[in-house]
């Protein structure tokens, strides 16, 4: 029961991370296509400004919880995806410093260096996280000793890439909606129009991905056994569909919530499909890392659960307060503010 609780929390932590960092990674990805001038770019940076750091801590927590609750799975996963993880890390580092460094020197060349870092550092994590999760859904070649020697190129298989593209599209749409919320004028209109154009692409790709998943993975077994769980898939699809009317009516917060539901549903659809496996083995199911064979001791799980039940609601409360305090549209005053990026 403890293991199952932590498995669900683990899935939820990743889902929350994708929802939160998803919008700023998405905004970074679309920056070169949607910005016409320096003001547009600064608006984009400042639309993510007060949030990106707090968002990224959900990744640190998701990683930390994997380490703490399922150490054997953490060890296998992180060493198995060695090169991919380092690429992800380098991308996130470059993106993180681009926020702080870009505005600090008044030179076009300096700014464009950090813009490149920002765009690559936003696109690459979106793609790599999708590739990683699709590969986990499908299974990675874990042998009897829990060792896997898969290189980066094996991760970039067609199904893995399909997952990567799905994440990129989801995040792009999510980021465009957020930019619509935070900006006004032409940039706002371009962001909403981009989101509207990205929507049919997302729907098409999501359907393709579900079909591909049915063919390529064993994820659906749990759903066939317990059809009630299909609620998650239905929720994901319903969330994605609901984006369009909300955009059409100009209800951007509603569109954002719908998009968040789509992202959470997609993540949890895969996670629940794997249960009780955390890392299915593609070689032999007996070698999979499951919640039983990779979990920490009951005492650790209990203590961590206590910490999580007390602290996570507090974190959510103060992060919501921050979102409320800084949800206003970016204006010229904000860009003239001395601490603005």
């Amino acid at each position: 029961m403890l293991e199952t609780t932590w498995f669900l929390l683990w899935g939820i932590l990743w889902a929350v991370y994708f929802i939160l960092d998803g919008f700023d990674l998405g905004m970074g990805t679309i920056m070169p296509f949607i910005s016409r001038n320096e003001t547009d770019r600064r608006t984009i940076y400042n639309a993510a400004g007060p949030f990106w750091d707090g968002n990224e801590v959900w990744l640190v927590t998701a990683g930390g919880v994997t380490f703490a609750a399922f150490p054997a799975a953490y060890a296998t996963l992180f060493s198995a995806m060695y090169s991919a993880l380092f690429l992800l890390l380098f991308a996130l580092i470059l993106r993180g410093v681009s926020f702080e460094f870009r505005s600090k020197v008044d030179s076009a060349a300096w700014r464009s260096i950090w813009d490149v870092c920002h765009v690559v550092g936003s696109f690459a994590p979106a793609l790599l996280l999708g590739v990683a999760f699709a590969n986990i859904f499908r299974g990675i070649p874990i042998d009897a000793n829990g060792v896997n020697q898969e290189g980066l190129l094996q991760l970039l298989n067609p199904y893995g890439l399909a997952g990567g593209v799905l994440f990129v599209i989801m995040f792009v749409l999510h980021g465009a909606i957020w930019l619509g919320i935070k900006s006004h004028g032409e940039l706002h209109d371009r962001a909403v129009s981009l989101a509207t154009k990205a929507w049919p692409v997302l729907m098409l790709w999501a359907v393709t991905f579900v079909v591909y998943t049915a063919v390529e993975t064993k994820l659906l077994a749990n759903y066939i056994q317990n059809p009630l769980l299909l609620v998650i898939l239905i929720g994901a699809v319903a969330g994605m569909i609901a984006i369009r009317p909300a955009l059409g009516h100009g209800h951007l917060w509603r569109a954002f919530a719908a998009s968040a539901t789509g992202i959470a549903g997609t993540t949890l659809f895969g996670v629940v499909g794997m249960y009780p496996r955390l890392l299915p083995s593609s070689l032999n199911d007996a070698w999979s890392m499951t919640i039983q064979n990779s979990a920490s001791s009951p005492l650790t799980l209990k203590i961590m659960l206590t910490v999580a039940l007390v602290m996570v609601p507090v974190v959510i409360l103060y992060q919501l307060w921050v979102f409320k305090t800084f949800s206003h549209k970016i204006t010229k005053d904000d860009l003239d503010y001395e601490e603005a990026y």
């Binding site: 400004g49 007060p50 949030f51 750091d53 707090g54 990224e56 801590v57 990744l59 640190v60 927590t61 990683g63 930390g64 380490f67 703490a68 609750a69 399922f70 150490p71 054997a72 953490y74 060890a75 296998t76 992180f78 060493s79 060695y82 090169s83 993880l85 380092f86 890390l89 380098f90 996130l92 580092i93 993180g96 410093v97 926020f99 702080e100 460094f101 600090k104 020197v105 829990g146 060792v147 020697q149 920490s296 001791s297 005492l299 650790t300 203590i303 961590m304 910490v307 602290m311 996570v312 974190v315 103060y318 992060q319 921050v322 305090t325 800084f326 503010y337 001395e338 601490e339 603005a340």
Partner: protein, 432 residues
């Protein structure tokens, strides 16, 4: 070069680079919070300008501290997966708790502080910087408790080929972790103190914003003076702890080869590791090593030769790092005491001011040296007396690690250069 050697090199590079930024973040967050407290309680605008000026330098430094920290968490899984499986039950949970109770707070409220000057009330804004300062240092506590477990494993039982948590209270009250906490955090305030003193001195020499920098200087000077004295005393107690729990490390710190009673300390010594002796031993102070280790001039101090060769840490590195740390620590007491003596007539002592500018990097070096003593001195163990570093490495290829190490080093060098360039630029520019 094998995956083990390269992984050790990579871990050393990643931690040492991360730890260039962390001490200033820990110390400066507290000092900036104190400056802003002065502003809110007195209403004097100069303190607001001080919080903003030092806060800007804090932020430039903070960014690199955060992003390089993520590398470390990942590396336990990527490069030290066997270690992660073995102690994840305890070590992993401490990292997870750190993220949940401290890192979230720090990362969320730093943004509130940066973007909130005109959006929230001064009191709420002051609360934001205090939350950042408390959370950063709380982060440090959890990380040091995790490191404390590697230094002095407690509260565990061995079951099913791994260390399982047996007593959480033992882990969070581990005296070794707390000793490190009370050594590292005051050390961070020394870094911040010398940072502020040095930059203020530079401006005072040029007579730019004299009132602003005299007031700033005082913050730095008091922090440096109080905490360099504190750290020295605490270091002595910490040394007692090391003598008790990690006798091989203590012997390596002093290049002490033979087990002796009434062991002397030599003011000048050159260790010769290959021949298990010291090439030079000059100016002995009788009994001082026994006092340092056990507070008793006649106590027996175990020598390195009484440890099996495969259980000894690298002696020369540990010895030199320890000497560097202690030597620098003594210098910090002297310099900050000198600054305190002439605090009202600073501009009459240009030589001292010039020296303080050049001293900015020294507390950083002391920190790095301290960590070398702690980590290299613990070798060959990754978890003291429980797991060897050589058994902890991931089943990965040397080629994979080679690539990541090269990329990491290259990127860190460039980012470090950019960061130092920006710190210089904004430090010289002075307040608005």
């Amino acid at each position: 070069m094998d995956a083990l050697f390269l992984s050790r090199l990579q871990f050393a590079a990643a931690t040492m680079f991360h730890f260039i930024f962390v001490p200033l973040t820990l110390g400066l967050s507290i000092l900036v919070a104190l400056m802003e407290t002065r502003y809110v309680s007195t209403g004097n605008d100069i303190y607001k300008r001080m919080a903003k000026f030092w806060g800007k330098l804090f932020l430039i430094n903070f960014a690199l501290g955060v992003v390089t920290g993520i590398t470390l968490e990942f590396q336990f899984g990527t490069n030290w997966s066997r270690y992660s499986t073995y102690v994840g039950d305890i070590f992993g949970s401490l990292l997870a708790i750190e993220a949940t109770v401290a890192f979230f707070l720090e990362s969320t409220f730093i943004a509130v502080w940066v973007f909130g000057w005109d959006r929230i009330s001064p009191k709420l804004h002051l609360m934001a910087i205090w939350l950042v300062a408390i959370a950063s240092n709380l982060s440090g506590l959890w990380i040091l408790l995790a490191n404390g477990f590697m230094q002095n494993p407690v509260g565990y039982t061995l079951r099913g080929g791994r260390a399982e948590l047996a007593d959480f209270m033992d882990v969070v009250t581990n005296p070794f972790g707390w000793m490190q906490f009370f050594h590292v955090i005051p050390g961070a305030l020394i870094v911040a103190g010398f940072f502020i003193m040095g930059i203020s001195a530079w401006h005072l020499l040029r007579k730019s914003h004299p009132e602003f920098f005299r007031k700033s200087f005082a913050f730095g000077m008091y922090a440096a003076l109080i905490f360099s004295v504190f750290t020295a005393f605490e270091g002595h107690i910490h040394g007692n702890e090391v003598a008790l729990l990690q006798p091989a490390k203590l012997a390596a710190m002093e290049a002490h080869w033979e087990t002796t009673d009434n062991a002397p300390m030599y003011l000048f010594q050159i260790p010769d590791e290959a021949n298990e002796e010291n090439l030079v031993e000059m100016f002995p102070i009788p009994g001082l090593l026994s006092i340092l280790a056990y507070n008793d001039p006649s106590a027996t101090v175990k020598g390195l030769k009484d440890f099996p060769k495969e259980d000894r840490p690298p002696v020369t590195i540990t010895f030199l790092a320890f000497r560097a740390m202690v030597g620098l620590g003594s210098l910090f007491i002297a310099l900050s005491a000198l600054a305190w003596l002439v605090r009202n007539r600073l501009e009459d002592y240009p030589l001292l001011l010039k020296a303080l500018v050049w001293c900015i990097p020294l507390p950083y070096l002391a920190h790095q040296a301290g960590w070398i003593v702690a980590e290299v001195g613990r070798q060959p163990w990754i978890v003291y007396n429980l797991m060897r570093t050589s058994d902890a490495v991931s089943p990965i290829t040397a080629q994979q690690v080679g690539f990541s190490l090269a990329a990491l080093t290259g990127m860190y060098l460039l980012l470090g250069a950019a960061d130092i360039f920006l710190l210089f630029k904004y430090a010289r520019k002075g307040p608005q």
